[in-house]
């Protein structure tokens, strides 16, 4: 089906992004392509469909065959009907205003007879359960719905090879599960071949049968059954900063303590159950990450106080009756389903979106009475799109900027800048334009520029989206430092495993208001109706529960 022999891909003016990639993917296989950020996964996905080098300039050497032929040599239509591609960015998948027009566009391209288009369109939407939205404007749909429409487009084409570049990113836990299950149905079909790229592996592990691991230079370092390669290449994966599924991560820890040797790490909950049964329960429980303990209540006055706040777009109420406070030195996660209003709330807090009702106090002052630039003195905000915040032509100047404005002396600026460059691993690219950095580097820079000043509240909108494990760990180390220095940190996220281990307090937004405000442990252990909030238990918590059941 896909046959790659010594494929090397280099973009102009750059070192090769993929080096000597060789693999043979057979019909019906479900392959996970894994590697750190920038290892060339998306590049390979484009090459499998022939878009690269047909339309993306790059040097490709070696031999790449899909269905026995070089995809770049085929006609665009033929290549697209054999192998379809789901792109990394849900915002740029579509080119028409409504769902119906988008599907029609796809089918017209493939020259499906006009009379059959309607039928195939409806079938594809039924597959994802999106038929009621057939005439909706795509830009009014939530992130999860958009992703389902993207899957519908692939289903309408019905190709033999499905290439999925981070199909689950930006989805809330419930939607992740739904979309992953949809893809699982395709994976179960012996005639369909899946190549999936993901950072967060828990869901896809249910149906992935083989893993191919790329290292930072885009070379294949391991290829085989996921459980086996996670085991045999554990050290390398750790060094490369690749996320493992939670059971594998815990299994690795467990093995380190005991002398037992195995052939493979568990990758799904089911496998974890049998794996853990071979170990003493205390050891097993100790190998699982602990939820962070909520600190003792702060004695200081709150930096932020929200009282009965309500917000709406036109007639559509996003939330109402929202009240909570943030205290210095607190690490809080804001969770909720796609479209629950997390980003809106973040904007309301910073006085960006006007309040419909209620008040927000920053350091005791009503935010409605402050000018935007005065509010900015109190808030550091990291947006979903880091590029929006960059002002200067080099990384170094970008970091210096805040300190210069604050009027620091040159000596301090130089010293502090160098510290930050090292801390955020940005030293080697200090002279580059911020826009030219990789996604992970941009994210780190955007945080670095926010922690340079003495704003007392730090708000981050999905800070770990698209980051590999090493970058995410580095990021949280810095956030933790900020917290210790007395800042209140609030981050918006869909990643429950991260919430479980990094946050001390959870705010959950559901059914138009704050549905939960309290400690992490009580949130996941308690009687909270998580389904209603649109989240799931973190995998580690499920593993803990399984363990409890197993030994009971």
């Amino acid at each position: 089906m896909i046959h790659a022999d010594n494929v090397t891909i280099a973009y102009p003016f750059a070192e090769p992004s993929v080096e000597s990639f060789s693999a043979e993917i057979r019909t019906g296989e479900n392959v996970l392509l894994l590697g750190p950020s920038g290892s060339g996964k998306s590049t390979l996905a484009l090459a499998f469909q022939g878009i690269l080098p047909r339309s993306v300039e790059a040097e490709v050497s070696g031999r790449l065959n899909v269905f026995g032929e070089n995809p770049a040599a085929k006609s665009i239509t033929e290549a697209a009907s054999q192998a379809a591609l789901l792109f990394q960015d849900p915002e740029t998948q579509f080119c028409m205003p409504t769902v119906r027009e988008e599907l029609a566009f796809t089918l017209e391209n493939l020259r499906v007879p006009a009379d059959d288009i309607e039928v195939r369109m409806i079938e594809a939407l039924q597959f994802t359960g999106m038929l009621p939205w057939i005439d909706a404007r795509i830009d009014t749909l939530s992130g999860g719905m958009k992703q389902k429409i993207a899957v519908s487009c692939l289903a309408a084409v019905n190709p033999e090879v499905w290439i999925l570049d981070e199909p689950l990113s930006q989805l809330d836990p419930v939607s992740r599960e739904t979309v992953a299950a949809l893809l699982g149905r395709i994976a179960a079909d012996p005639d369909k071949t899946l190549v999936v790229i993901e950072h967060q592996l828990n869901e896809v592990m249910e149906w992935v049968s083989r893993g191919i691991i790329l290292n930072r230079n885009g070379q294949v370092t391991a290829d085989g059954s996921p459980g086996r390669i996670f085991y045999s290449h554990a050290a390398l994966l750790e060094a490369e900063g690749v996320w493992l599924p939670a059971p594998a991560e815990a299994g690795k820890k467990l093995l380190r303590k005991t002398e037992i040797t195995t052939a493979a790490l568990p990758v799904t909950l089911r496998e974890w159950e049998t794996f853990a049964a071979a170990h003493p329960i205390t050891e097993v429980l100790a190998s699982l990450p602990q939820p962070k303990q909520g600190g003792e209540p702060s004695q200081k006055p709150p930096v932020l106080e929200v009282k009965r706040a309500a917000s709406a777009y036109g007639k559509h109420t996003v939330f109402e009756n929202v009240s909570f406070s943030l205290y210095p030195g607190e690490m809080t996660a804001l969770v909720g389903a796609n479209g629950a209003g997390k980003s809106t709330l973040a904007r309301v807090l910073t006085g960006w979106e006007p309040l419909k009702k209620g008040t927000v106090y920053v350091n005791g002052q009503d935010i409605a009475g402050l000018k935007p630039y005065e509010i900015a003195k109190t808030f550091g905000i990291v947006f979903q799109q880091p590029e929006h915040q960059f002002l200067m032509p080099t990384v170094e100047e970008e970091i210096r900027y805040g300190m210069e404005i604050a009027g620091w002396c040159e000596e301090d600026i130089v010293q502090h800048t160098n510290e930050l460059l090292i801390q955020f691993q940005l030293g080697h690219i200090r002279k580059n334009h911020p826009f030219r950095l990789s996604q992970g580097e941009k994210r780190r820079l955007s945080v670095a520029v926010m922690v340079t000043n003495n704003q007392s509240i730090l708000i981050l909108d999905e800070p770990t989206f698209g980051l590999d494990k090493r970058n995410a760990d580095a990021l949280f180390e810095v956030l933790e430092q900020c917290r210790r220095r007395g800042k209140a940190v609030l981050w918006l996220t869909h990643d429950m495993d991260l919430v479980y281990t990094k946050a001390a307090r959870i705010l959950a937004l559901a059914e138009r208001t704050i549905a939960y405000d309290g400690s992490v442990e009580a949130f996941f252990n308690g009687s909270m109706d998580l389904e209603k909030i649109g989240v799931r238990l973190p995998a580690v918590q499920l593993m803990r529960l399984k363990e409890g059941d197993g030994h009971a």
Partner: protein, 197 residues
């Protein structure tokens, strides 16, 4: 350059840039109408160069035949789709302005995209706008002096607001790296590498 034909990517990128500019054109029209209403067509003339930004910027970035004309047509099309209340005039002007800028680039065989050529393209664009408006709005009924004065202000505006400002904007854009895969970006990268050596 081996391939001088516009490909799908060029067209889509030109569409996006021109669509953004088209929205700005619309805002500029409101401003322009106010200025024209108060100071007459001469005051408006000084603003005319802004409407030639799309062909100058896109041709400078892509450096292929047809880019200038296409850019201006799409900018005009965007104005119409976004609900411009003067759709007809906008489409006609879009065509003549884009064509005039295109002719200038063609005269230089699409090889030279230096500041003087870009300014010339801007001036050609405003000149075309002048001719079109002359026909549409009956300028023949006005005193020759004021018409000539208007022409002069429009041409100056074309050189500065379109040629010079357009170039400096594209030059700022190229530093961000998003144009690396277009002619302008490649030239910038090559220049950088030469400096580094």
């Amino acid at each position: 350059m081996a391939n001088k034909r516009l490909n799908l990517r060029d067209i889509v990128v030109i569409s996006f840039i021109s669509a953004v500019l088209g929205v700005l054109y619309l805002l500029w029209v409101l401003l322009g109408q106010m200025v024209t209403g108060i100071f007459g067509p001469v005051g408006g003339g000084l603003m005319a160069g802004f409407w030639i930004l799309a062909p100058v910027i896109c041709a400078y970035i892509v450096q292929k035949p047809g880019a200038a004309l296409l850019a201006e047509l799409i900018a005009a099309g965007t104005e119409v789709m976004a609900g411009s209340v003067s759709a007809g005039a906008v489409l006609l002007l879009g065509f003549t302005q884009g064509l005039a800028a295109e002719i200038i680039f063609a005269v230089f065989f699409y090889r030279v995209f230096r500041l003087p050529v870009l300014m010339l393209a801007g001036m050609a664009g405003t000149f075309a706008a002048f001719l079109t408006q002359y026909m549409l709005y009956g300028f023949s009924q006005y005193a020759g002096s004021i018409v000539v004065f208007m022409l002069v202000t429009m041409i100056i505006s074309g050189a500065l607001l379109a040629g010079w400002a357009g170039k400096s904007f594209a030059d700022a854009l190229v530093k961000t790296g998003v144009l690396d895969r277009f002619a302008l970006g490649r030239q910038y990268r090559e220049g950088q590498q030469r400096n580094a050596v």
